[in-house]
Symmetry: C2
Subunit: 299 residues, 2 copies
């Protein structure tokens, strides 16, 4: 099945207690695409500047990702720079330079409009809406967001939420959006906003899914070294939608398995900087770690 | 099977955003005893002052808990007062008055010395050692500790750890004891100190067990209202050892089930102040919630 993703394609500079990288491949659409590419054909929508290294585009193409929807505009590529503390849950952003992303108006190539699975990455909800309106009859639409949009474009975000099936968000954002500290109550309130599947990511503590009046708890994989958590939320979403796109039905069983595949991919992502780990995965490695999740949780 | 517990028996004053209680029944030995009492006969070792309400002792006796080892000394009972923020993970201690606990020297009644299961609650490791040395041939010994003892009596604590089977500790204490931020590495280091089973509690994020070179991840139950987390770690330990004391073997399967029973009991405990919830449980209620844990995690 085909998956469309819209989101940022970026040059990231990241420092963690375990190393540092400068202007490497990043961005929500990139982390998502690479993760989902192990399951399905991915169609990427985004924009970069003339300074974007062609080798990075080739890396995506080599993974079978369709980049016709990745516009190359005059100007500089979106850049993000951040630093993590020894406790990797604490992140500090040095700068976010939107650059060509500032004037980005996504227009989908014809073949993109027939994609059945859609991931609206963490961008301005007005753009998320614009992308969604161009897609004909999608089967399943998921979206992400962040504190900035919740604060500055709440109404647009709520308008997106009325149209999507799945909302993937982290715990602090779920609390911010609803004004509810308790995640059970927060998830139920978000359900009332529109999405029928709510996924709350909790970093090293795993993720929760609320579906059909029931909660599912996915653990995070236990690792003895975590190098860089950047992009893990998008890698999670890529694993989730990627696996789901191979399923005939979206029921309790397939959604729960998708949550575990999502956690599997996210766990690989944190083991190296940028997409270094994601780019060298295989379906076998993914399935092997899925088995590890069974061992981790079975009782 | 018989379980011996030594720990504090206290009068707690607790304030949370959801209410406030003054000088109510608390203490590690109390939370543990009541929790374990649903599975086995419990023998309690502790001390209270003359001011301790007899009704509280009767409450323990009514649950079949043997209180012959609970000394009533001249003076005032151990008191603790604390307050929780809206985010219940943040606790502030107003005061800890040791009172009669300051000069407590546990001497076990004869019948206590034959107990097969032992829980050394969070008290001075020198006292933990004194209790342990009086027990004849225990089958399984677990112990708890806290930041204060790790800091002030590290050597005594390490001497206890060399003699116990199970160490139950929370995540920040595991990090403090080992100097390791990463919990996988921390658990493995604690293993090298002596205990063959390491349990790391993570509050609302569940608990981890390290046994036989493998990790097990127990979730926490998802509740839409949490009133007071006081005593949950001891309730967890009570559920864990309580269930284990009904098993013939201590293997991967029974230990994992014990982790879930521990989480079940801890989840009940946070639903009300003091021991209000723990005192009214039944094995049926416990088993019903165990089934809920299966639904929460199955994939």
């Amino acid at each position: 099945m085909s998956i469309l993703v819209v989101g940022s394609v970026a040059l990231d500079s990241v420092k963690t207690p375990f190393g540092e990288v400068h202007e490497v491949l990043g961005g929500s659409a990139v982390y998502f695409s690479l993760s989902a590419s192990y399951f399905s054909k991915v169609y990427l929508v985004g924009v970069v500047g003339k300074d974007f290294p062609p080798s990075y585009i080739n890396l995506l193409k080599d993974k079978g990702i369709d980049t016709e929807g990745l516009k190359i505009e005059k100007g500089r590529t979106f850049r993000w720079s951040g630093e993590y503390e020894y406790d990797l849950n604490n992140r500090h952003t040095h700068f976010t330079h939107l650059n060509v992303f500032k004037t980005f108006l996504p227009r989908l190539p014809e073949k993109y409009k027939r994609c059945k699975f859609v991931f609206l990455g963490n961008i301005d909800p007005i753009l998320q809406n614009k992308v969604l309106s161009q897609i004909k009859n999608p089967k399943l639409v998921a979206c992400d967001s962040m504190d900035y949009w919740i604060k500055t474009k709440r109404d647009s975000l709520l308008s997106v939420l009325r149209k999507v099936d799945i909302f993937i968000i982290n715990d602090s954002e779920a609390r911010q959006l609803t004004g509810e500290v308790n995640l059970v109550k927060a998830a139920k309130q978000i359900y009332s906003f529109g999405p029928r599947i709510i996924i709350v990511k909790r970093g090293e503590y795993g993720a929760l899914m609320y579906f059909n009046g029931k909660f599912f708890w996915a653990p995070a994989y236990l690792l003895d070294s975590v190098y860089d958590p950047t992009g893990s939320g998008d890698a999670f979403a890529g694993g989730f939608l990627g696996y789901l796109s191979t399923c005939n039905k979206f029921n309790e069983s397939s959604l729960r398995k998708a949550m575990i595949y999502a956690s599997v991919i996210a766990s690989f992502n944190v083991q190296d900087f940028s997409v270094n780990k994601l780019k060298e995965l295989s379906l076998k490695k993914i399935k092997d770690r899925y088995q590890e999740f069974i061992k981790l949780t079975k009782f």
